[in-house]
């Protein structure tokens, strides 16, 4: 299986389980954990598949640091550098 273009990590301590990111993710690669975190919410997590690294989840999430988005460092094939570090312009 090809390596996904992106990945996300979610800080389950900071996440409030609102599910907005789950809803907003285009390839639907986020889900709410069935288990509760210490504060009694179902935090979000990355299913581990298909993340495109689009960054949408980051911007819709109301918590400053709950989500971190990663993207594959581009292979040798030269690609134009991204404007700033933000790719989530749709």
């Amino acid at each position: 299986m090809a390596q996904a273009r992106g990945k996300v990590t979610i800080d389950t301590e900071e996440c409030k389980g609102c599910g907005v990111c789950v809803d907003a993710c285009p390839p639907k690669c986020l889900e709410l954990l069935p288990g509760l975190n210490p504060y009694g919410v179902h935090p979000a997590r990355y299913t581990g598949m298909n993340c495109s690294g689009c960054g949408i989840c980051f911007y819709v999430c109301p918590e400053p640091g709950a989500i971190t988005v990663y993207r594959l460092i581009a292979p040798k094939v030269a690609q134009p550098p991204m404007e700033g570090s933000h790719a989530a312009t749709l």
Binding site: Q3, G6, K7, D11, E13, E14, K16, G17, C18, G19, V20, D23, A24, Y39, V41, G53, G55, I56, F58, Y59, V60, C61, P62, E63, P64, G65, A66, I67, T68, V69, Y70, R71, L72, I73, P75, G84, S85, H86, A87, A88, T89, L90
Partner: protein
């Protein structure tokens, strides 16, 4: 395996750990799915990218976002409910190099703080206001906001907002766009990622404009409040799209450049401004002379426009130049505009007690009503100078001596009724001999720029002196002048 690199993460403009928060210091105090956090992220990201974190100051409101200072690692000033634009105005003017952000909710900005936002915008304060419109009072538990939609329920609109009772939702972006000064006004919404990206751009643009010194910028953000709306975060986002957008259309309402404006105030120093660099020519008399002169209290009364207050001021200033303690107390306020005016002058060797004179030594009555009103108050041994050639009928008896000095007539004869008060000044000088004529002339010379007027004033003083001297007759010879009168100018 190829490597990943971080492309989106917590902004360095946020504190790592929210130490100002009592507990749960790793997450915000906002409800799950609340829009405030998103707005915070957009602001933090723009500030970080612009590299202006050190010089940014956040003015927070009263509302759910009152604690924004928990999160933003920047200068923070917490303002009273609705007053963030006023506070931000002075913060910016006091720190012109800073980037000042006002952050407000709809109750804060569009209800209690309506005046402050309108006027800050209208003055074109070089600040940026982020207006979080969630159509409800969040912090206080869901009361009606000025932006609550028609029919929307709240704890204080239990039958839904009724225009018959609460009027219609207030459109602040449109309202402010009627003003001349703002440079940038846009309304955005946090209903989906596409609109969040638009909001991101707007937030950044507003701040960049401030950084460039452009003027007042205002971003209204339609923002979800799932808790009070009693919706899931997802439903709340839909509700914005389906209900709020119809009432609060998105878009740019203002985007323009202002031509630079000149300030044009001449600059000086405090010392110069307060005249502390110039000594006053005080005519200091030998103490003996000064002590031999009795204290004098004068009440001057007449009609507004007769120079009543000015005459008193001149008298007081003459006294001061002669080394006396003096006070001048005017009648003030509307009565100055419409009718009577009076003032009290005390000249004393010692510190003046009450500046309110109960029984003046001299009353200068510039018109008949003043004579009627105040003649009884004059000291038994006192004097009244009355501006007319004869006394009116029906004057109640009084013990003071009254001299008629037709000052207005005399002044008219000199070409201007305006000199009436100077004729009276002359008469008073002749009467009391407490103050020398030269001091009056020196003072007028210093104050009256117009040479012609100065000349008339001097003639008026002399005419007043002459008029009274005639009436006093030989008795005045006792206080003889020091030789001839010096020419006026």
């Amino acid at each position: 395996m190829d490597e990943y690199q971080v492309i989106e993460s917590k902004s360095p403009v946020f504190y790592d750990k929210y130490e100002r928060k009592a507990e749960l210091q790793h997450q915000t105090h906002y409800c799950p799915g609340c829009g405030h956090g998103v707005v915070h992220k957009l602001i933090a990201e723009a500030i970080a990218d612009m590299g202006v974190q050190d010089r940014t100051i956040l003015v927070t409101p009263v509302g759910c976002s009152v604690f924004a200072y928990y999160y933003f690692d920047m200068g923070n000033v917490q303002a009273a409910h609705g007053r963030a634009p006023a506070v931000a105005t002075a913060v910016k003017r006091s720190n012109p190099e800073s980037i000042v952000i006002g952050y407000q909710g709809d109750g804060d900005l569009a209800a209690i703080g309506t005046a402050e936002i309108v006027h800050a915008a209208n003055r074109g304060e070089k600040i940026t206001i982020f207006f979080v419109n969630n159509a409800i009072y969040g912090m206080t538990g869901g009361q009606l906001a000025p932006t609550t939609l028609v029919g929307q329920f709240s704890t204080t609109s239990p039958w839904g907002r009724r225009p018959s009772n609460e009027g219609y939702p207030l459109r602040m972006a449109e309202l402010l766009a009627t003003l001349e000064a703002p440079v940038y006004i846009e309304r955005v919404a946090l209903c989906d990622n596409k609109n969040i990206m638009k909001a991101r751009k707007a937030v950044r643009k507003a701040l960049e404009l401030q950084r460039d010194g452009a003027g007042f910028s205002f971003i209204e953000i339609l923002s979800p409040c799932p808790t009070i709306w009693k919706m899931t975060p997802q439903e709340a986002r839909k509700w914005i799209e389906e209900k709020m957008l119809a009432v609060f259309p998105l878009g740019v309402f203002r985007d323009r450049k202002l031509a630079p404006m000149a300030d044009g105030v001449p600059q000086t120093t405090v010392t110069k401004l307060l005249g502390l660099d110039k000594p006053l020519e005080v005519v200091t008399r030998p103490m003996a002379v000064k002590d031999s002169q009795p204290d004098l209290t004068v009440k001057i009364a007449g009609f507004g426009g007769q120079g009543v207050l000015l005459l008193g001021q001149i008298l007081a200033e003459m006294g001061m130049r002669e080394g006396r303690e003096v006070s001048w107390l005017p009648s003030y306020g509307p009565e100055m505009r419409s009718g009577s005016a009076h003032c009290h002058v005390c000249l004393s060797k010692e510190r003046v007690g009450s500046p309110v004179i109960e029984h003046p030594d001299v009353l200068i009555a510039m018109n008949e009503p003043s004579l009627h009103k105040f003649s009884k108050m004059v000291e038994a041994h006192g004097t009244i100078l009355y501006n007319n050639h004869k006394l009116p009928a029906g004057l109640p008896p009084c013990e003071a001596k009254i001299y008629c000095v037709p000052a207005s007539e005399i002044a008219d004869g000199l070409g201007t009724t305006k000199a009436t008060n100077m004729v009276m000044l002359g008469a008073l000088l002749e009467l009391t001999h407490t103050l020398p004529r030269e001091t009056a002339l020196a003072l007028l010379k210093a104050k009256v720029r117009n040479v012609k007027l100065l000349d008339v004033d001097c003639q008026a003083i002399d005419a007043g002196m002459a008029c009274l001297r005639k009436q006093l007759g030989s008795s005045t010879d006792a206080h003889a002048h020091d030789g001839e009168l010096a020419p006026c100018s």
